[in-house]
């Protein structure tokens, strides 16, 4: 059963609407003085600054993450990765490059693996997200997690949550027929420690167990 947890950003600036609205009011006022007076006076008369504050405001985001439903308010520029790490304290998903190049941020959205760093949170409204924290059942690790431990599929561990999320998806996608195919379809996950041979072994073991 899923429960609903109220969510707020865990740290950082005061993001309350009042503060932002006041800030935007002030900045648009300053811009107003600096720019051509005519249009700006008109803007002020029409209370456009108020509208300006309104349009950048946060929007509601509904996510089900690892079986738990969340309703949050986020700015449009926040990525799914940031929501997971900064708002929901699910720091198992890592930020590596933040540009789609390393795969450390890999999560499943409605069962499909994606790079959460390039996905705006709001575009995922209403979706089901699975992160590395959602793979184990209670105390029992997911077979892929077990296999990574058994085969030493990591050294520093930074890429590991992304590797495991990718590997779990890979088996479902059916591109794990040979070592070459596994390597090709795991190529979106970079490991700077070079644990690749053991990662492949771990995947092959779980794949073998499935047949």
């Amino acid at each position: 059963m899923s429960t609903t947890k109220p969510c707020t950003p865990t740290d950082g600036e005061d993001n309350s609407n009042g503060t932002r609205r006041d800030f935007l009011k002030q900045t648009s006022l300053l811009t107003a003085i600096a720019l051509t007076p005519g249009t700006v006076v008109k803007a002020a008369e029409n209370q456009w600054d108020e509208k300006l504050a309104g349009v950048f405001e946060k929007q509601a985001l509904h996510l089900e993450v690892n079986g738990v439903k969340h309703e949050l308010m986020v700015e449009p520029r926040v990525t799914l990765l940031e929501v997971l790490r900064e708002y929901l304290d699910l720091t198992g998903t890592k930020k590596g490059c933040d540009r789609g190049q390393c795969g450390a941020c890999t999560v499943h959205v409605n069962g499909v693996r994606v790079n959460s760093c390039l996905s705006l949170a709001l575009t995922n409204d209403g979706k089901k997200i699975t992160t590395i924290e959602g793979l184990a059942k209670e105390e029992e690790l997911h077979p892929m997690q077990e296999a990574f431990i058994k085969h030493d599929g990591f050294q520093c561990g930074y890429c590991t949550s992304g590797q495991i999320m990718s590997a779990v998806a890979l088996l479902k996608e059916g591109h794990s027929g040979s070592e070459t195919e596994i390597r090709e379809f795991m190529s979106g996950n970079i490991c700077r420690c070079g644990a690749y041979p053991n990662i492949v072994k771990a995947i092959q073991e779980v794949k073998g167990g499935m047949v």
């Binding site: 540009r99 499909v112 390039l118 591109h175 996950n189």
Partner: protein, 330 residues
């Protein structure tokens, strides 16, 4: 990332109207190119119109060929059973690009629209006529290893980075778009443009127009047996092409009855090799003919300081792709 407004319409007409009203607005599809560029400060939109809820995801067989909705993901297209059987070149090209995660997010429309990977375009401290018209071309006299051999101008020598587009060019795709003035169809060859004096324009899509689908003609499905997409890059996987070749031949009794050839990584648009195709028609399947075709394809090529190696790499890649497509190499 700077602040912007965000809307998520459910109807195509609403999305189109919404963008028409917004001079600095952008459609958001998979976000794999746009969000990346926003993080780099290359694009600073006032508004994003998230098109992911529009009903443009269908992939289906039609009376005239194949209809692929603009929002179908790259993986959905590459894994589609009918596409794999009848248009394998497209599946091969898509799977040669990016990573599985990115292909799950990336859409067909977004892939057509993806911008160049020229390092001068990506570095806001550098001149780039494509990013900042009038600022100059950093690559012309700079590190131009990845750059064009064909159709470049003194304003821009960047290349279109897409793998999918190369296959679409070879398969004679048609791009269907819609805007406030109504729908229209653009042939793939007329969709991307050469840089000329306006390298800031990658294609002929008009401001406010939305790509709704990509259609493939039935005739192209005859090219489904002797097919290869050869991608040459700096590492085995997950890198953009230095040069790529999409090759598909129709063969009867060891005679080539039709050829479809296009190259990636060599021009501002996917580069169809029409003269080489004409040469190959009616010729026997052998390496000499392939070499001759490659020589013809390379006519007019012009290299820069650091991409001279492509003058050798490209024809070799053409020959190799033809050998792989016909089983003369494996």
């Amino acid at each position: 990332m700077n602040q912007f407004q965000y809307t998520r319409p459910a109807e195509t007409a609403v999305a189109v109207k919404s963008l028409a009203k917004e001079p600095n607005g952008y459609f958001l599809a998979g976000g794999t190119n746009l969000v990346d560029m926003m993080k780099m400060g290359l694009v600073v939109p006032d508004k994003l119109i998230d098109i992911n809820r529009l009903p443009l995801k269908k992939i289906e067989k039609t009376a005239t060929g194949m209809h692929i909705g603009a929002l179908a993901s790259n993986s959905e297209v590459a894994e589609h059973a009918y596409i794999k059987a009848q248009y394998p070149l497209l599946a091969l090209a898509i799977n040669a690009g990016a990573s599985p995660q990115l292909r799950n997010m990336a859409t067909v429309g977004g892939n057509l629209m993806q911008r160049t990977r020229c390092p001068y375009f990506f570095d806001t401290a550098m001149p780039c006529n494509k990013r900042t018209p009038g600022s100059g071309c950093g690559a012309l006299e700079g590190i131009n290893r990845m750059h064009a051999l064909f159709g470049a101008s003194d304003k821009c020598i960047a290349v279109n980075p897409s793998d999918m587009n190369v296959a679409l060019a070879a398969l004679d795709a048609t791009i269907h778009v819609t805007g406030v003035k109504g729908p229209r169809a653009i042939k793939i060859g007329d969709f991307h443009r050469l840089p000329g004096d306006h390298p800031e324009l990658d294609n002929t899509l008009q401001k406010g127009e939305l790509i709704t689908s990509v259609d493939l003609p039935t005739a192209s499905s005859a090219y489904n047996k002797h097919v290869y997409y050869l991608k040459i890059r700096d590492r085995t996987s997950y890198a953009f092409a230095l040069v790529s070749v999409a090759a598909a031949l129709h063969i009867e009794n060891n005679t080539i009855t039709g050829a479809r050839l296009a190259m990636g990584g060599v021009a501002h648009k996917p580069w169809r090799l029409s003269t080489a195709e004409t040469f190959l028609k009616g010729k026997a399947v052998n390496e000499d003919n392939f070499k001759h075709a490659a020589q013809i394809a390379m006519q007019g090529a012009k290299a820069y300081e650091y991409n001279k190696f492509k003058l050798k790499l490209a024809p070799n890649a053409i020959v190799q792709s033809l050998k792989l497509a016909t089983g003369l190499a494996s």
